[in-house]
């Protein structure tokens, strides 16, 4: 990218040194090096996973297991653990675990990082790698009776499948009977107004208390990874990111893909386009946070009239601006590799006027939200000190975004791993220390203010941008074929947190593996942690405060 590091050579040397230091830490287990574009990669034996990850976490401060990617090669399976540090996300490493074709077993990372639990279940479900010592290895996205692993090489898509519709048994019933306790089993969802989509919570209650909640996902598993693997880099993939986090957060998601492929294929982005991207992305963030706040209030008050409508009103304004910019209300498809698809709409003054208008009214509406929501005693009673998520727990589940920042984890990729135009602008990362539902709400409301600041600065810049320097897209070849076996994992700060993409090229114009690291997937994992032992209304509030979107959880 055009705006990066002043002294690339010095940086590269420092990175290489750090990589060697890390290798020295776990040297005894390292079979070879398999460096990715973003980070050094260490190939380790399948039975040393826990040792290696544990050492790296303790000694090298790699305390964030961002993602687990599994894939099948002609001659082996491979699981990749993408590690980062919460203090400095540019400090990265990948742990690559190859397993043989006929016996794809490796040690589970779940005892070291709790987030690995779901990530490995997904790897097992879609690719077919088995993890030993995993607490509960079963399918997660596909129905339990599915036959075959759809992202493995020999999967037959034509094969008929049978999906049962059963009542779900109470998982705790047997133990409870012994001490004469009474529990009730409650299915929340997959069709339920409080689950924000098609999420299914298998909940076991004792009276009003939640004993156990087990999120059952996969009701919107739309095979996004497979479809991206069957599409070309240049044009066909870009429309899909809009549909991951579809709460108007499209541009933020598009940026995740744009960033990954631009770094992989070494594409420059003109500065002018970066400013437009930054502005559009922050508009999307406002729209997304507005809906999060509106539906959260809806969950807590059960009130479909006031606050929800206020939020939708403000979203409509943002959507109008975005529609002027991109041509669509929701599925923008506006980014292109190396820039954006078209310039700002004419007449430019009018467009800037409409944004300024919106920004002028924003403080007033935020005031209204604070009056109606955050200053409201009922809401405070419901949300303060409920759904508590301590920072250490949040980190071990790989939580990011407002969920992490609401627990005081100061982690924002826009600042810590800068891309676009963010590091040229003046804004702050919002954190709250309350660790509860209320803090997460406040973080979102305050982030809207910060986004407004960013947009304002972008508008100022764009207004004065010299007319002869408005390149919206750099020269990009018609077909893109990154070198064979290039691997990259890149993330951006989307509305819900760290949205990462892992890609491996095989020399063709389609990716050989396309893996999406969804922030909601990791964030949702914290729900049992926040809700077990609490009352059921608090469970609903916690779920609302996580602000998940099922399109992104299930992909």
């Amino acid at each position: 990218m055009s705006l990066e590091e002043p002294g690339p050579d010095a940086d590269a040397a420092a990175v290489a040194r750090a990589a060697d230091e890390m290798e020295a830490l776990v040297g005894e287990h390292v079979l070879s090096r398999d460096d990715h574009l973003n980070a050094p990669g260490y190939v380790v034996r399948p039975d040393a996973v826990q040792d290696v990850l544990g050492t790296l976490r303790e000694e090298a401060n790699l305390d964030h297991l961002s993602c687990v990617t599994a894939q099948e090669y002609e001659d082996r399976y491979e699981s990749i653990y993408h590690l980062k540090s919460y203090d400095d996300p540019t400090h990265e490493a990948s742990v690559v675990v190859p397993t043989p074709k006929d016996d794809p077993r490796s040690e589970s990372a779940a005892p070291v990082f709790r987030t690995a639990d779901w990530h490995e279940r997904e790897a097992y479900d879609l690719v077919g790698v088995e993890y030993e010592d995993h607490p509960d290895l079963r399918r997660i996205l596909l129905p339990e009776t599915w036959q075959g692993h759809p992202l493995s090489l020999d999967y037959d898509q034509e094969r008929p499948q049978i999906v049962p519709l059963r009542e779900h048994a109470n998982p705790l019933e047997d133990d409870q009977k012994a001490d004469e306790g009474e529990t009730m089993y409650l299915n929340i969802g997959p069709h339920h107004p409080a689950t924000h989509g098609v999420l299914h919570l298998k909940t076991t209650l004792d009276g009003e208390q939640v004993i156990d909640v087990d999120p059952d996902i996969g009701y919107l598993h739309r095979c996004e990874e497979q479809l991206c693997q069957n599409s070309t880099y240049r044009y066909q993939i870009m429309p899909y990111p809009d549909r991951w986090d579809y709460i108007s957060a499209g541009l933020l998601n598009e940026w995740a893909y744009a960033r990954a492929i631009e770094d992989m294929a070494d594409i420059e982005v003109p500065e002018y386009a970066q400013v437009i991207r930054t502005m559009g992305a922050e508009l999307c963030r406002i729209a997304a946070h507005m809906l999060a706040v509106g539906t959260f209030a809806l969950d807590v008050y059960g009130d479909f009239t006031a606050i929800f409508m206020y939020a939708v009103r403000d979203r409509e304004k943002v959507q109008n601006i975005l529609e002027d910019l991109t041509g669509q209300r929701l599925m923008f498809n506006y980014f292109r590799l190396g820039g954006v698809v078209w310039d700002l709409p004419d007449p430019r003054e009018e467009f800037f006027e409409s944004i300024r208008d919106f920004l002028d009214h924003l403080p007033g509406s935020l005031e209204e939200y604070h009056d109606l929501i955050s200053a409201n005693e009922i809401l405070q009673v419901r949300t303060v000190d409920t759904g508590v998520l301590p920072p250490a727990v949040a980190k071990s589940y790989g939580a990011t975004g407002p969920v992490a920042r609401g627990s005081g984890v100061d982690y924002d990729l826009r600042r810590d791993d800068p891309y676009g135009y963010y590091d040229e602008l003046d804004w702050d990362v919002v954190t709250e220390d309350g660790m509860d539902n209320y803090s997460r709400l406040l973080v979102r409301l305050r982030e809207v203010e910060e986004s407004a600041k960013i947009i304002e600065q972008c508008v100022d810049l764009l207004e004065d941008w010299p007319a002869d320097d408005r390149t919206i897209q750099s020269n990009v070849p018609r077909t893109i074929r990154p070198d064979d076996d290039t691997e990259i994992y890149r993330a951006v700060e989307a509305a819900k947190g760290e949205l990462g993409i892992y890609m491996r090229s095989d020399g063709t114009e389609q990716p050989a593996r396309f893996k999406i690291r969804s922030p909601c997937f990791s964030n949702l994992q914290t729900l049992p942690e926040m809700s077990n032992g609490e009352y059921i209304p608090d469970l609903v509030a916690s779920l609302g405060s996580l602000d998940i979107v099922l399109g992104e959880v299930d992909r």
Binding site: L142, P143, E144, T145, W146, Q147, P150, Y155, Q157, E158, R159, P160, Q161, I162, V163, P164, L165, R166, P190, H191, P193, H196, G197, V198, G218, Y219, L220, H221, R222, C223, E224, Q226, L227, N230, P239, Y240, D242, R243, Y246, I247, S248, L291, F304, F308, M309, V312, R313, R315, E316, Q319, R329, L330, M331, L550, G551
Partner: protein, 234 residues
């Protein structure tokens, strides 16, 4: 009884008719010129078949099921909310329970795990019920048609009355679709009921083949299942 009693209880029928008619025509008493009256003509009675009347009522007051699946449901929410306000057309009361709803808008991609649940929700709605398919996903699977897990359109599972194309359709398009549905209901049209390719059946009733045999250990004979024959999908 007041003194004017003889006046009020006139027994001459021609006089009564004349007075009433004069009152109506001159406009001194517009009790008879109600809105309905203006709509239906001079006769003080509405002659209609009961079912036509019911159709008109049904179309004018529709209870929607609150049912969100995917991206399209965001635009559906916007259709219900301020600015677009579907309620203006007598169709804006989302009900949380299928048992109280008579229209289901299917807003999104249907995947294998969800289709049996959606069928169950549809079955729980009381007759007569109507379906609006929102978005390309409910027509054909949309952008996800080639996915291994995606049902190629809502019509594989439940009958659909109105398809609203788009990805996502704009709120205006959804309103147009709903208005069209109201028109159809008011004129008594409904979609032909055909057997859907994917239905819920008991596992024991499936034809035995290799796929069924493999799953025989995991699924009970009387469990409800949905069988997807992907090779036959459009």
């Amino acid at each position: 009884m007041s003194d004017s009693a003889p006046d009020r209880f006139r027994s001459d029928p021609t006089q009564v008719e004349t007075d009433t008619r004069d009152a109506r025509i001159s406009g001194t008493d517009d009790r008879f010129n109600s809105k309905l009256r203006q709509a239906f003509g001079a006769s003080p009675f509405i002659l209609t078949k009961f079912d036509q009347f019911m159709n008109w009522v049904r179309g004018s007051s529709m209870f929607m099921l609150q049912f969100g699946i995917a991206c399209c449901s965001i635009e559906m929410m916007h259709t219900y909310a301020v600015k677009h306000d579907l309620d203006r057309f007598g169709a804006g009361v989302p009900r949380a329970s299928p048992r109280q709803a008579d229209v289901i808008i299917v807003p999104g991609t249907i995947v294998s795990k969800f289709a049996p649940r959606m069928k169950r929700v549809y079955d729980q709605m009381p007759e007569p019920k109507f379906v609006v398919g929102m978005g390309s996903c409910t027509i054909s699977g949309g952008p996800f048609q080639e996915g291994y897990n995606v049902v190629k359109g809502a019509e594989e599972v439940i009958p659909v009355d109105i398809h609203v194309p788009g990805c996502p359709p704009r709120p205006e398009a959804l309103i147009y679709g709903v208005a069209k549905l109201q028109e159809r209901i008011a004129t008594g049209e409904s979609s032909p009921v055909v057997v859907k390719p994917y239905d819920l059946e008991e596992f024991g009733d499936l034809d035995r083949d290799e796929v069924v045999d493999q799953l025989a250990e995991q699924i009970d004979e009387d469990d409800l299942v949905m069988r997807y024959n992907w090779a036959d999908s459009p």
